[in-house]
């Protein structure tokens, strides 16, 4: 943080009345946590192994708390940046509701607790992957890459891509090609998703000194990269169908949802001026969330339906 000449004291001191429980919940980034839980649960359900429902619930709780720890540690380190950006200025630390020290302590306790519990109760492959995810998000993305390179979210996106692998590892105790494919989908999804946001929030990022692609390379280059990564994403998203991780409904969904994603990415590339350009970027940003949700929801439903049929003794062959 000292590199940008922004000391932590640039954020307001903790307020006089102290933090509420809701402030600590906000510190865990509950919206990000919900996506993490959803993708991790999908990974767990798709895995071939059987996990006791109680242990599966504990695994999901640990993954959710681990994601919360990442959020808290990210907000601790990025408090100076958050204070300068409109989108994040109301977060608990810049608002003065929680002190950076409190956030750090909270994050460390959650991280150690979630990793240890997952390792001891479920297995250490899952526990190790959760530890790697938290460490990657804090040290590689937040501390190392975010303030240094426009590749920050390309490489840092791996942190958000690990959860389905953790869910898979919780059920099987191993890493497999299928779980790596689930990782790749989120990994390839992250750049176009965040670059779409960065396109219409470029001034915010510029003011905060974060070298997002539109700030460093310009909006046109960002638009080109969005199209390239979207095309790669649509291809990667078809891999579960080839690996028979997903069935025909998944294959169809991947094609239709992928087609819409590509058309929205091309619209971002085509419309470059005024409010229409902003609207196109916002539309792509919003749809990218729907897109990821659809892919994982269809995989989840197919897996759940398959399990239901096998439990009922019905064979499709």
């Amino acid at each position: 943080m000292a590199e940008l000449g922004i000391p932590l004291s640039s954020t307001r001191p903790a307020n006089l009345v102290g933090a509420s429980v809701a402030d600590f919940i906000a510190l865990m980034k509950p919206r990000v946590m919900s996506l993490v839980v959803f993708t991790a649960f999908t990974g767990m359900m798709l895995a071939p192994g059987h996990l006791d429902p109680i242990l599966a619930s504990i695994a999901m709780l640990c993954i959710a708390v681990g994601a919360g720890a990442s959020g808290a540690l990210n907000m601790w380190y990025d408090a100076d940046i958050d204070a300068r950006m409109q989108r994040t200025a109301a977060r608990p630390i810049p608002r003065g509701a929680i002190s950076p020290q409190e956030a750090l302590t909270f994050g460390v306790i959650l991280a150690i607790g979630s990793v240890t519990t997952l390792g001891l109760v479920v297995n250490w492959v899952a526990g190790g992957l959760l530890a790697l995810t938290i460490a990657f998000y804090l040290f590689v993305y937040t501390i190392w890459l975010k303030r240094k390179t426009p590749q920050n979210i390309v490489i840092g996106g791996a942190a958000g891509a690990f959860p389905p692998m953790i869910g898979w590892a919780a059920a099987t105790g191993a890493i497999s090609l299928e779980s790596i494919v689930l990782f790749l989908i989120i990994f390839m999804w992250t750049p176009p998703h965040f670059w779409a946001l960065a396109l219409y929030r470029a001034r915010d990022y510029e003011r905060a000194g974060v070298p997002m692609l539109p700030v460093v390379a310009g909006a046109d280059e960002t638009r080109k990269q969005i199209v390239i990564y979207s095309a790669l994403l649509v291809m990667v998203a078809f891999l579960p169908a080839l690996l028979q991780l997903g069935g025909s409904i998944y294959a169809l969904s991947a094609i239709v949802a992928g087609g819409i994603l590509l058309s929205l990415a091309l619209a971002v590339h085509r419309v470059r001026e005024g409010r229409a350009a902003d609207r196109a970027a916002r539309r792509l940003f919003a749809y990218s969330i729907v897109y990821l949700f659809v892919l994982f929801a269809v995989l989840l439903l197919e897996a759940a339906f398959g399990r239901y049929l096998s439990l009922s003794g019905v064979s499709l062959t």
């Binding site: 006089l16 009345v17 102290g18 429980v21 600590f24 109680i54 504990i58 709780l61």
Partner: protein, 48 residues
Amino acid sequence: MSDEEQREWERRRKTRSVAIALALAALVILFYIATIARLGGNVMNRPL
């Protein structure tokens, strides 16, 4: 700190304390359930 702020500070501190107590109680229950789930009936299988 005004009287009103003092009261609000005490109220929030109490809420935080209750939340920590509930979290600790939940952890005790969690580890109890996890032990039973992992060991199953074997939890009773020991020399007396």
